[in-house]
Amino acid sequence: MSEHKIQNDLYYNKDHEWVKIVGNEATVGISDYAQQLLTDVVFVELPDIGKIVKQFERACVVESVKSVSDVYAPVGGIVAAVNKALETTPEAVNTDPYGAGWIYKLSGVNAAETSNLMDAPAYKTFLDQDKAK
């Protein structure tokens, strides 16, 4: 597998979701490593707006040709927006995982929950260990 991009200003969890926190709002997607592992994303089941998720709870689902994978919430909150464009262009999760491939936004986020997550250097170390296995 080729190199995985890791974006600096994000937090990551061990299930390979990323989260960007601004104030008490968060944007969530899956990491470059995760999208490579999934291969071609062909379907994204977006969460319902208004859904309340706790940290590390299942929020929604992404599917490749062959597999169904849960997307967890890296932090808790209320689903405030979803990336509707993924209904017609799910491949954006592959081509631009940290940009156009974002999946949902949460409001009412407690930024202190990032203490349970990894920053970019820690995530890199985590992936290196994973690959060494």
């Binding site: 291969t39 071609d40 062909v42 599917e63 062959k66 209904e87």
Partner: protein, 361 residues
């Protein structure tokens, strides 16, 4: 410990993603599953399917044995012919779906699924007791490559003096490819023109490399089991362990055409009885009308009632639709019936459509 084919190292070198399939470490994809699928539909693809099993049946009672254990009327086969069929138990449940190769009245090859190979072998040996027939399981010595797609013949022709044009669909010849003796049939599991090659493991890497090298000019790609699955599903071909198994009969599946009631075989009485009593369920093809991919095991509903379950479901790269196979209560199997499939917490509409989903024009 997973079993490995003779091409395992080649798959790793190509960067294939390897998975456990029926106890074998097999390539599920090399670089991109959809591109591999399209290569087969538009140009050519090469599959290592050496995990599948092969039995050689020889002796004066070969026909008697095969009439007994398979659903096909073996007496109607001509030499060099290939036929699909099933092996049933006494209850009519499908032990395996198989391909039969007739070399002569006293020599046949059966090609069976990987996971079912040991069980099939024991079953056939048991049925052979008292007959003048030998059953040899040669699976561990054989490499099986499928080269499929509109360019498959052109590519393979570069490696042999035999005129491949003369091999009709569902026929085979014994010839040499790149100097290696093998059985090649014009058949496959993709719905495209193509060939299945059976030869000794010792030549596996040599033949694989030659086919990849020559195929390069024609856009041939090595293809994994992922592409094989979407290709066969588009053609409505069943996969053992998913669409068919010991708990389903060939009549419930769409294998009725491969069952001959004009001869005796194990399971015939049960199937006749089932035919007379009427089926209670039937395998159908469906396409999703709303967003969602049906997967093996998802429940099928009609009017709020559970009426069956999905057995296969994929996004179809050729049709641009999400399609699937599953069993529904008999009566609901009619074309254009609207069913619902439970995908996680939602019921998603689907329509029963004619099989195959895709047919080569």
């Amino acid at each position: 410990m997973l079993k490995k084919t003779s091409l395992n190292a080649k798959h790793h070198t190509l960067g294939a993603r390897m998975v456990d399939f029926g106890g074998w470490e097999m390539p599920v994809m090399y670089t991109n599953q959809i591109q591999e699928h399209q290569a087969v539909r538009q140009r050519a693809g090469l599959f290592d399917v050496s995990h599948m099993g092969e039995f050689i049946i020889t002796g004066s009672d070969a026909v008697t044995l095969l009439q007994k254990v398979t659903s096909r009327d073996i007496s109607k086969m001509t030499n060099q012919q290939v036929a699909l069929g099933v092996i049933c138990n006494e209850q009519g449940g499908i032990i395996d779906d198989i391909t039969i190769y007739k070399y002569s009245d006293q020599k046949y090859m059966l090609v069976v699924n990987a996971g079912t190979t040991p069980g099939d072998y024991d079953w056939i040996k048991k049925q052979a007791v008292g007959l003048t027939v030998q059953v040899d399981n040669i699976s561990d010595t054989m490499t099986k490559l499928d080269t499929q797609g509109p360019q498959a013949e052109t590519i393979l022709q570069k490696l042999t003096a035999a005129d491949l044009k003369l091999i009709k669909r569902y026929n085979f010849i014994d010839t040499a490819i790149a100097g290696i003796p093998m059985t090649i049939s014009r058949s496959g599991y993709t719905g495209e023109d193509g060939f299945e090659l059976y030869f000794t493991n010792t030549a596996a890497e040599q033949i694989w490399d030659k086919l990849l090298a020559i195929g390069q000019d024609y856009g041939l790609l090595p293809c994994g089991l992922g592409a094989r699955d979407t290709l066969r599903t588009e053609c409505g071909m069943m996969l053992y362990g998913h669409d068919i198994d010991i708990n389903h009969t060939p009549l419930e599946a769409v294998y009725g055409w491969a069952v001959s009631f004009t001869k005796d075989f194990i399971g015939k009485a049960a199937l006749e009885q089932q035919k007379q009593a009427g089926l209670t369920r039937k395998l159908v093809g469906f396409e999703m009308l709303d967003r969602g991919i049906a997967r093996d095991g998802y429940l099928i509903y009609y009017n709020g009632e559970t009426v069956g379950a999905v057995t296969s479901g994929v996004p179809s790269p050729t049709l641009g639709k999400n399609i699937g196979l599953g069993y529904v209560k008999y009566g609901l199997h009619k074309l254009d019936t609207i069913i619902q499939i439970q995908i996680r917490t939602k019921l998603v509409a689907a329509k029963i459509v004619k099989l195959p989903f895709y047919k080569k024009s």
